[in-house]
Amino acid sequence: MSERPLIRAVRNVSSVDLYTSGHRTCAGCGAALGYRLLLKAAGPKTVVLGPTGCMYVANGHQFLSSPYSVPWYHTQLGAGGAAGVGTAAAFRSLMMKGKRKKEEVNVVVYGGDGGTGDMGFSGLSMAMGYDYKRFVYVLYDNESYANTGIQASSTTPWGASTTFTPTGKIKRIGNLRMKKNVALIIAAHPGVRYVATATLYPPLDFINKTKKALEADGPAFIHLLVPCPKGWFTDPKYTLDLSRSALETGLWVSWEYENGEFNLSYRPEPRKHVKEYLRMQKRFEHLTDDKIEEIERMTAKEWDYWKEMDEQNRMIIPWVAPP
């Protein structure tokens, strides 16, 4: 990996926004903020592929304005991986055959949890097996099919109420599936050169991880947790606080995996009780205190693994008994 100096202070981040006005995302949209940081990090020599999802529908506009100042093309809900490979393959082929000037072009896919963890999983897996450079797939995870009205996906956390997993008179919990750890699965791909997780806080973390991902010597993947006021039933002003709280309660784990080495990017010590994060969100409001304690127990158990991984710098699959 050729080292490019990472950004140490927010004032050194590019003041140019390549994801700018002209969209109609919700107030406090975490995914939109993620887009902005992503393109600040990637810069203008970038092609962006946008699978169907919130960042497709909400970034489209009835007046045909576009928020993208870089080449951008829609791809189908399950096609993020294939779109990235097709785009990267075209650049490599055209440059190799002298049909286009040789230079570095970034290929970035920004796909949601439904398009990445569910429908596009097979194509993503394929994409991570090839050796295209400056190719990064970013999963923006708002933990549901938010654009279609908050339906559970495979990354919706246990206990969340969604329109496909509503709470009712006999079903008290909401979503009964445990959140799929997509980044761990991607890390198991031998071709992948950089895997990380991040959230919107602190912003430099995601920006620098994007830079590292693009500088890696092959395909890279970042799983980005993005709070969603619409789907989490939170006040738009708390989006960044939620990102921070997710880290501090240990419900979101920020890490990097590169060249076989695992590192935590942030270690919450002492870790705050999960209720601080969960009680901010109406999607969990039906959970009784004993269910919250159950989540706390699972989180504590999972953190035994994360700490061990950090100390040994090795990938271990965490296992926690389901509730």
Partner: protein
Amino acid sequence: MPKTASKSVAKTLPKRFMWTGTRAIAEAVKLADVDVIAAYPIRPYTGVMNSLAKMLADGEFAAEIIGADSEHSQFEIAKHASAVGARTFVGSSGVGLAFAAEPIVVTAMGQLPVVAMAGCRALDDPGNFGMEWNDVLTFRDSGWLMSWAKDPQEALDMILVAYRVSEDRRVLLPSFVAVDGAAITHISAPVEQPSREGVAKFLPPYKPQYPLDPASGPITKAQHIAPSLIGPELRKVVDNAMAQAREVIREAWRDFAVFVGREYPPFIENMYIEDAEIALVTMGAYAKDAVHVATKLRQEGVKVGVVRLRYFRPFPQGELAEVLGKVKAAGVVDFSYSFGSADSSSVLFNEVRSALYESGSHPLLMDFMFVGGREPSVEHFEQAVRLLEKGAGKGAVEKHVWWPTLRGESP
């Protein structure tokens, strides 16, 4: 002839090879200097990708070849590579095409000149290696150009022409080159290899007007829209492109004859049609069987001709109306089905009938559905001609949809 003279004659003659349809198509892809190839295995089309992978492994030409995780990814890869400015090749068969339905549809709507080989195969269930057209015809309404080859030679030629027509800025629509499974994909036939120089003159490099490339500045493509704003206009763009393709196809085959040296009528090929009273209408490999039967029956004095469609999209409506307006009865030799359609008949039959509706005089029409993949024999074609003869004599038939290869179906 002295040795040297025979050598120089051999030099001027085009090289001929015994090639299967898939091998011939691989040659066309190489000659077109395709940049990105997306592969996924399914019979009977797969051979083309095997051949291309070997050519690339041997350094015969340079391209990126991706083995995808599914046909869905395969067609998405081709679509996105095309958007950047690469010439692309892809293909599939049977349920593989069904799995790729979503990217196939958006490739046309994105006006990307992807060229795909379709090795026609019966759709599941159950799995069936037999030949049917329903896999490709699923996409008849989607904005893809569709041509049907009769043999490996024409398959090679149609691929080259497909790039030329698809990439023409008056068209910018993707192309399916359909070849009948087994009958063309797996059967070797003599094929003349076009010269590199000829192809280079015939097929200019692909230069998209708005490539998805930072070097050309930012563009936003296929953004979500409010339907009331440009919904109908976007559909009309594709419709216009399909309409313009008719002239571009004519031009392309004219130039093909000049630069590559083989001549074809652009849309339909007629045999024995001048004085024909009845006609068989078909596409693809089995047109040769139809011609064989017509040749034989002509010797008995039966005035039968054969009409072969080379394109299904755009549909050669005018050409068909003109030629079929002169016969008394025509039978569509069809390898498709459209359950519950008018007369519960087949796709090509319904298209032919619809194309003739407004023309002044039209023949009595019969449908011969060879479905389910059971191989037809020349006897079936002969039977069809006899039934047409009878109908033409009486001016009517009681039953005009036949399943000649179905057990228990006999005239």
